[in-house]
Amino acid sequence: MKSLKKSLLSAAVASVFAVSGAQAAGISDDKVKIGVLADMGGVYADICGKGCVTAVEMAVEDFGGTVLGKPIEVVSADDQNKPDIGSAKAREWVESQGVDAVTGLVASSVTGAVTKVLTDNKKIALISTSASHAFTTKACSPYNAHWTYNVVALANGTVKPMVDAGKKKWFFITADYAFGHALEKVASGVIKNNGGEVVGAVRAPLGTTDFSSYVLQAQSSGADVVALANAGADFVNSLKTSAEFGLTEMVDVAGLLVFTHNAKALDPNIAGGMKLTTGFYWDMDDETRAWSKRFKERHGSIPAMGQAGAYSMTMHYLNAIKEAGTDDADTVMKVMKKNKPNDFFARNAYLRNDGRMVHDMYQVRIKKADERKNEDDIFAIEQVIPGEQAFGPMLSQCDFK
């Protein structure tokens, strides 16, 4: 009875929606459809948002607009940084609109919910801007590919040198959701392993407008370094308040995740000199400058690292479909892991079996006012951190061959 009903139902569904299961070969429903899911108008809009859509569209155009003779389509939606909205959209995309891969993916809370939906449906998540390392560790999946950076790389790149330099006591002002928690945890581990100590932490909700009470807690903690384990507008606001209450003069304030747009928005007198870790900087060499120039012409501002990453991963994904001769997720992932991405963004790069894209990271310094030649001249690259060193080892349970 049940099977009869089910087959009737699924026949009906298939006829109406033309939803078909994964096929062994060829392109499902005669097109490759990429969904870009990101915060389009909120606190993270600048670091991915419409810029990620532009980057993905550029990749599709540069690829030629078709793959294996079938058209490539790009759709996009605003997740408003809310996991319920993001996962519902992803579900609708893969279940009723034939989307093959979802990219963008900014707030780690949204990415966590979306990757679960995608894995259930055997579709690929191309994570460009999320920071949490969960998607390649405790929530790892054979369908996740995590580009650009993660909290492990940030902690290794930014925190370790400071602890080594004698800054032993740390206090965290942490964004109160998956990303902030992960960053605080990983950074705390790095601090303890190198002989430092975490003297306290406060958790501020995403989009907090007034950081003064958190700054005061940090001030009375007796720490050498106050680490801002937040991002986007939260980072900008917490650093501004720190300066207002004189915290920046008393102790080191370290931004753990700083995007070029945020650094640009800050007064160079407050932010200048701060060292941080990034996965990409537009003004690194001719190749990055060439792509970034094209991007800026279309989008109006220089690319954030996740936007460059979105281009790179879309390109790698489309190349893999071309080589595999199908858009079947399992096959495509195999090819993506076998071939090494190599473009303006991905240097010394490979996609590890756990879905982590390992590549060179960069330790940079925010330039002071007198060093800046123009408004986009924000970072000075201090040091290249080799991928292996930045991202750490792979967990054996996430070794999806």
Partner: protein
């Protein structure tokens, strides 16, 4: 580190100060609500949006017209007040005789429109407004570092609150106003233009929110949802204080700011819930609120 009975005074005083600053904003906003409620018997759900509007107007005045902070402090509340006057005249008055719940829903809708419009225009990540040069820097007190601007917030909002209280409770104008609340028909018979008083009072109450918005612009990020987040807390404060008196609104606002500050020091996890917890206790013991008269 200064300690007393094992209490870190640096931290405690700091949190009390931040509490007092927040309390100043609560007091300004709940004062505006109380004045409007007193005369029109409506809860202005758009009060938070007006606060947001004040902050954005200050930002726009500076960036588009070069109007500095001090001028904005006068002009912006007037502008926001004018919007309030138009709102009362053309949207609220037509439904003045309907159930008061409709006016609450109407102002809620207006709040959504304003918030949505500003999100559309400016995004929700927030704009920054620099602290005016005259108030930059700060003083190192024995227990903490007090930025000048924060001190200015406390002093100026206290002055505005007390002046408003004096005007309503002690002057002739205030007497008309209170009488208009008690018995509008009689006042009308005495030749007082009650509808005009109602409109102007609404404008004034809303203007107070605009003033709070300008005050907030340099310290909070100017963002479309700054008002809605604040308003919910102010509502709880209004429930705690009751809608009985102007002075009650001011005292409850400041008091709740301090309670919040203390909680942030002793048990930070509860700082967002403490005002609501106080509200439950007040409701259980004094359903009409601390200063309220049972309707």
């Amino acid at each position: 580190m200064a300690t007393f009975l094992g209490i870190n005074l640096f931290g405690l005083f700091g949190q009390l100060l931040v509490g007092l600053i927040n309390g100043s904003f609560y007091a300004l906003l709940s004062l505006g609500l109380a004045i409007i409620f007193g005369l029109l018997k409506i809860i202005n759900f758009a009060q938070g949006a007006m606060y947001m509007l004040g902050a954005f107007f200050a930002w726009m005045a500076l960036n588009y017209m070069g109007i500095n902070y001090w001028a904005a402090l006068i002009i912006v509340p007037l502008a926001v007040g004018c919007i309030g006057v138009l709102m009362e005249r053309y949207l609220l008055r037509p439904i003045a005789n309907e159930d008061h719940l409709y006016s609450l829903l109407l102002t809620f809708g207006l709040a959504l429109i304003l918030q949505g419009a500003f999100t559309h225009m400016f995004g929700s990540s927030g704009m920054s407004y620099a602290i005016p040069d005259e108030l930059k820097g700060g003083n190192r007190l024995p227990f903490m570092y007090l930025p000048n601007y924060r001190a200015w917030i406390i002093i100026s909002s206290l002055v505005v609150c007390v002046a408003t209280w004096y005007m309503i409770e002690k002057t002739k104008l205030g007497a008309y106003l209170r009488a208009g609340t008690e018995n509008p028909q009689l006042m009308q018979a005495f030749g007082i233009n009650v509808p005009l008083i109602v409109t102007l009072t609404f404008g004034f109450g809303v203007g107070l929110a605009g003033f709070a918005g300008v005050m907030a612009a340099p310290v909070y990020s100017v963002s479309p949802d700054m008002g809605s987040n604040m308003l919910i807390v102010v509502f709880a404060i209004v429930v705690i204080g009751g809608m009985g008196s102007i002075g009650g609104a001011i005292l409850t606002g400041l008091g709740m700011g301090i309670v919040e500050g203390l909680t942030k020091y002793f048990y930070p996890e509860a700082s967002t819930t403490v005002i609501f917890a106080v509200m439950v206790i007040v409701l259980l013991t004094k359903p009409a609120g601390l200063f309220g008269k049972e309707a």
